[in-house]
Amino acid sequence: MRPRTRYVPRTALAALALGAACAVAAAPALDSLERRIAACTGCHGERGQGGRNDYNPRLEGQPEGYMYAQLKHYQAGARAYPRMEAMVQFLPDAYLHEIAQYFAALPPSGQAAGGVGAAPAVLERGRTLALRGDAARKLDACASCHGSELSGVLPTSPGIAGQPYAYLSAQLGAWQSGTRRAAHPDCMAAVAHRLGGRDMQAVAAWLSTQPARAPQAMDAATREALSRCGNGGAP
């Protein structure tokens, strides 16, 4: 038994060394998309896992259709964030598709963004709203459109689990104030209005503690929920 146990760590070490060598050798080629989109990964992480500033959202595994739509919105000024608007302003659709595909194909980390130190009662409130909604206030659960794991539904519902708290609360605020909009009837605007500040923070706090997973396939219930939104819930 003894020689064998010694053998295993050695192979592991060798594998690690090989892995490290491969990682060095596999630095993206100059003519690769990774090198071209250094501006994207500079803020959203090498693997699209999100930024280092507690705000920039993770992109890995997000539905391609959702990300492409957002890039087009930034281009048209329909979604406001000056740095992103400037980034995509002079890029053709084919390239935006390619960039969206690239991040959509990256495997989600399974990580949470990390809590914001919210109190357990707040997190519990957030969890309830996200998973069950609040029928008394005609509030649908986040899960009804964003998937039971809140990691998105193909082709266009974004994953919201594991996003940074600051990003989620800023987006809810933007839907509430109308700086972020969708086709009428604007479901997210309605949700944000009904939620109000406190509950927005609770939902954002809980979602930020949840692991980011791959988006689900569309199912009948989600299709039904999205059909009540403008333009079939197109983002």
């Binding site: 100059l30 250094a38 501006a39 500033n53 281009q75 048209a76 302003q89 002079f90 390239y95």
Partner: protein
């Protein structure tokens, strides 16, 4: 002697034979107009972001308030569908719309006045073919007294006279073509010249460079010994215009927009003609700027030392240990006038906001640079910009940490 019906048939045949010729003429005129409208970059100002082409609505920020570009589609109510070719010509040539309405010079008629009647007619013919849009014009949002349109009479009296392009017979046809495009449709002077307190450019300082009002990007001098195009080859200039990149540097900010909507469509002959003309501009010293500052030698030395560390860690991977860049991919920083310009707005803003190179037919999947605004303090940005401005033969002045603040808010 021929019977009437026979004459009738002749007439019909004649019409049938002539009609395609007319159609072909019209198509050629419209195609010419489309090309010229692109060189004039009409679509850029006359299209709101995400809006229908030429339907207007984009706000042009000026020190006097915002001017909203109008609808120039052939819609009869909201566009220029009711304008005659004469009306269109007067707008371009004299800065006056039908009914004697004086036009604000955000519409660059101080340059367009040099456009020939023939070219104006071609653009007019093209604009009549674009999709009419019933987009209503938006009122300008100018401060008093600039909101009083009649005051433009005084402005035009002081700063504008309709003019005609006069070819120089001693110069080559290419030079004259370049001069015509640069002075007229290209309206290069609109950004690349300083403006006075009334927003006017003057002939003396034409192409001396200037900060673009309200945008805070610096349009470099086109004719100074330090920053002008005299040391560029014609091929380098033509490449920059058509592809947004060259061996000497890449475009960014507003110039990328011009390349995207306008200059990438230049024929090779016109791109070289413009290069020929620009290279021939008499060389002037780079003018002083209100943003010039004095930086002590010891502070500059400290900034450079810190900047060298940051450069090795964050920049050298793409731009090279000696600022040499990678041909066709990463612009060089050594001997790059955008880096060393007297007004350091551009290198500061590029470091902070990063960005993609402009996509063109020649470069449809451009490379990009990350934004460093969140990762670098004002001190760090000042240090690294000072370092690149003073290394590898570059001779730009040091940049103060306080200067970074100017651009961080606008970032």
């Amino acid at each position: 002697m021929s019977p009437r019906w026979l004459r009738g048939i002749f007439a019909l045949l004649l019409v049938a034979a002539l009609a395609p010729v007319h159609a072909a003429d019209d198509a050629a005129l419209v195609a010419k107009g489309e090309y010229l409208a692109r060189i004039g970059d009409c679509v850029s100002c006359h299209t709101a972001r995400g809006g229908e082409p030429f339907a207007g609505g984009r706000g042009i920020p000026t020190p006097f308030g915002t001017v909203y570009a109008p609808n120039i589609t052939p819609d009869r109510t909201h566009g220029i569908g009711a304008w005659s070719a004469d009306d269109f010509w007067r707008a371009l040539h004299e800065g006056v719309a039908p009914g004697g309405v004086l036009l604000y010079p955000a519409f660059p008629y101080t340059s367009y006045t040099y456009v020939t009647r023939e070219d104006a007619d071609a653009i007019y013919a093209y604009l009549r073919t674009v999709q009419p849009a019933s987009h209503k014009n938006r009122e300008n949002d100018l401060r008093f007294p600039y909101s009083v349109r009649a005051l433009l009479l005084g402005w035009q009296g002081l700063y504008f006279k309709p003019a005609t392009f006069a070819p120089d017979p001693r110069r080559s046809p290419a030079w004259n073509r370049g001069a015509y495009l640069v002075q007229g449709l290209g309206h290069c002077a609109a950004c690349h010249s300083p403006r006075n307190a009334m927003g006017a450019t003057d002939a003396e300082n034409r192409y001396a460079g200037g900060l673009i009002p309200e945008q805070d990007w610096y349009a470099p001098s086109l004719n100074s010994a330090e920053a002008g195009l005299g040391t560029w080859s014609e091929d380098e200039i033509a490449a920059l215009l058509k592809t947004g990149r060259s061996a000497r540097g890449a475009t960014f900010g507003p110039m990328s927009e011009v390349v995207f909507h306008s200059l990438q469509y230049l024929t090779d002959a016109d791109a070289h003609a413009i290069a020929t003309y620009l290279k021939s501009l008499p060389q002037q010293p780079e003018p002083r700027s209100a943003r010039d500052v004095y930086v002590s030698r010891s502070l500059a030395a400290r900034l450079t030392t810190r900047g060298a560390e940051i450069y090795r860690k964050e920049c050298a991977g793409c731009h090279g240990d000696r600022g040499e860049g990678v041909a066709g991919i990463y612009p060089p920083l050594a001997n790059n006038q955008a880096v060393t310009a007297r007004v350091p707005a551009n290198p500061i803003r590029i470091v902070m906001q990063g960005g993609f190179q402009v996509a063109t037919a020649a470069n449809p999947r451009p490379y990009s640079m990350p934004s460093f605004a969140d990762r670098m303090s004002d001190d760090d940005v000042a240090a690294v910009v000072t370092y690149i401005r003073a290394s590898w033969g570059n001779k730009g002045r040091a940049v103060l940490p306080d200067e970074i603040k100017l651009y961080r808010s606008g970032e």
